[in-house]
């Protein structure tokens, strides 16, 4: 990679009491890259994400985003630098309309009129215009996922973190989501965590595998998914 990195992480460690969830991880993401993160349950992927988004403060190590050392920053400040995150369990405004949810996300960065345009555009792009006036709390799980993805990209972040975006989506919804993500990835940097290998195959070029809080292997998607160790700790006998 000759492109300058947008994200550079050195020796990131996060401990909870006696449990070390993330254990000295080095990780570099080039500007404009899409990286998939896979690994067994409990490997530390979500903790890693939470350290990047500021929901957790790392125990040690450094997180450099665009030249700023953001370790220990509050979430809202990191978000303002241009980081958008979709959490594993959808985190949306259940008591507000879909439209309002996306508008609020866009409004942080844009003025009222622009935010409205951005919101309309996104709802169309996500194919959820018909749900605009529904309360998000009334929607099915996969639809809430889409709303949350809309909120994440509404303020045009430079780095997007998606934690299990395909969870709870049906086959062709996953395909549509993959197309959307590939499109987003043309302009932005992304890290995507998911367990759906069909989905990972649709979007990924490079994959990083976490195992027990460390990076097990990193590389091209075909090589990684064919790796014996990865099959052993993660994929099982499944053909992917």
């Amino acid at each position: 990679m000759t492109v300058a990195p947008i994200l550079e992480i050195r020796k990131l460690t996060k401990r909870f009491g006696g449990v070390t969830a993330v254990d000295g991880v080095d990780f570099t993401l080039a500007d404009g890259e899409l990286r998939c993160l896979i690994g067994p349950n409990g490997a530390g992927k979500s903790t890693f994400f939470n350290c990047l988004s500021g929901q957790l403060a790392p125990t040690s190590g450094a997180v450099h985003l665009d030249g700023h050392d953001i370790s220990g920053w509050p979430s809202h400040a990191i978000a303002r630098l241009g980081v958008g995150i979709k959490t594993q369990v959808p985190s949306v405004f259940d008591g507000l309309e879909v439209r309002e949810n996306v508008w609020l996300a866009a409004r942080r960065r844009y003025n009222a009129r622009e935010a409205k345009e951005r919101c309309d555009e996104l709802l169309t792009r996500l194919n959820i215009q018909s749900l605009a006036a529904h309360m998000v709390g009334e929607l099915a799980h996969g639809q809430r996922q889409l709303v949350e993805i809309g909120m994440v990209i509404a303020s045009d972040p430079r780095l997007i973190l998606l934690d299990e975006p395909a969870a709870g989506m049906s086959r062709d919804e996953v395909a549509r989501l993959a197309a959307l993500i590939s499109e987003i990835a043309r302009e932005r940097s992304l890290i995507v965590v998911d367990h759906d290998m069909r989905f990972i195959r649709m979007i990924a070029e490079t994959v990083t595998v976490f195992h027990q809080g460390r990076v097990l292997i990193e590389g091209e998607v075909d090589k990684v998914l064919a790796d014996a160790m990865v099959k052993d700790v993660y994929l099982g006998k499944q053909v992917v």
């Binding site: 909870f16 449990v19 690994g39 067994p40 349950n41 409990g42 490997a43 992927k45 979500s46 594993q88 369990v89 009334e138 929607l139 099915a140 799980h141 996969g142 639809q143 299990e164 969870a167 709870g168 989506m169 049906s170 086959r171 062709d172 919804e173 996953v174 367990h195 759906d196 290998m197 700790v233 993660y234 994929l235 099982g236 006998k237 499944q238 992917v240």
Partner: protein, 234 residues
């Protein structure tokens, strides 16, 4: 074992279920497939009594349970594992499982031992708090907790969501064994076609609150068949 007749339910003013009928024989697993927002989760919730049926009947073991409260259905042997797990985050794995034993017809100790034998992955996590488990581990815990109550019928809402591929394989094994050893009856709402194909005796496709067609489980593991028969539904 379970008979659902013309079941209808609304969410607020919006109709979600529009006349669902299905019967399930003891020991069978019925899969339900469909897009988001078609009523899969609501169907399970209505059978469990979490959503009130506006019309139709639910009969279980010959008894009409349409108007019975949730806890009574639970005591009658219906277990429910909702989407998103709903474990108790500030209780340990052990205490989570003990909560599941509340309606068990057997000794708590025996039920716990059985749960750990069925889900050996939970054993090393026994004293950790539920909230500190990873997503996939929480999913296993939720299923194990439900089984602690020794249900006869369980309703599973996307049990593979957020679970790593190799554990999904284990889960298939576990469910197969349970079907044999306990004659467990299952309604399975799922997006993972391999999983649903491996376990179901029959699979229904739900669309706009109706069961619109039935699919051979075997067809689901063949991509060409999927595209041909149910491409537009899943």
């Amino acid at each position: 074992m379970l008979e659902v007749r013309d079941l209808k339910a609304n969410y607020g003013q919006i109709p979600i279920l529009d006349g669902i009928s299905m019967t399930i024989a003891e020991g069978n697993t019925v899969g339900v497939l469909g897009h988001n927002g078609m009523g899969k989760t609501t169907l399970l919730k209505t059978i469990m009594g979490l959503v009130r049926a506006t019309a139709g009947h639910v009969r279980y073991l010959g008894q009409d349970i349409t108007d019975k409260p949730v806890h009574e259905r639970n005591q009658m042997g219906i277990g429910y594992v909702p989407q998103g797990r709903a474990i108790f985050p500030s209780l340990s794995v052990r205490d989570n499982l003990r909560m599941g034993c509340a309606v068990a017809p057997v000794e708590e100790k025996a039920a716990l031992e059985q749960a750990l034998a069925t889900f050996p992955r939970l054993a090393p996590l026994y004293d950790r708090l539920g909230g500190t488990l990873s997503g996939g581990e929480q999913q296993l815990l939720a299923l194990a907790r439900c089984l602690c109550g020794m249900p006869k019928l369980i309703l599973l809402d996307e049990p593979t969501e957020g679970v790593q591929p190799s554990i999904i394989e284990e889960l298939i094994e576990i469910m197969r064994n349970l079907k044999q050893s306990r004659a467990l009856t299952v309604i399975l709402v799922e997006q993972n076609l391999d999983f649903i194909a491996a376990l179901s005796n029959e699979v229904h496709v739900i669309q706009k609150g109706r069961l619109v067609r039935q699919v051979e489980p075997a067809h689901l593991s063949d991509p060409a068949m999927v595209d041909e028969f149910i491409g537009t539904f899943v």
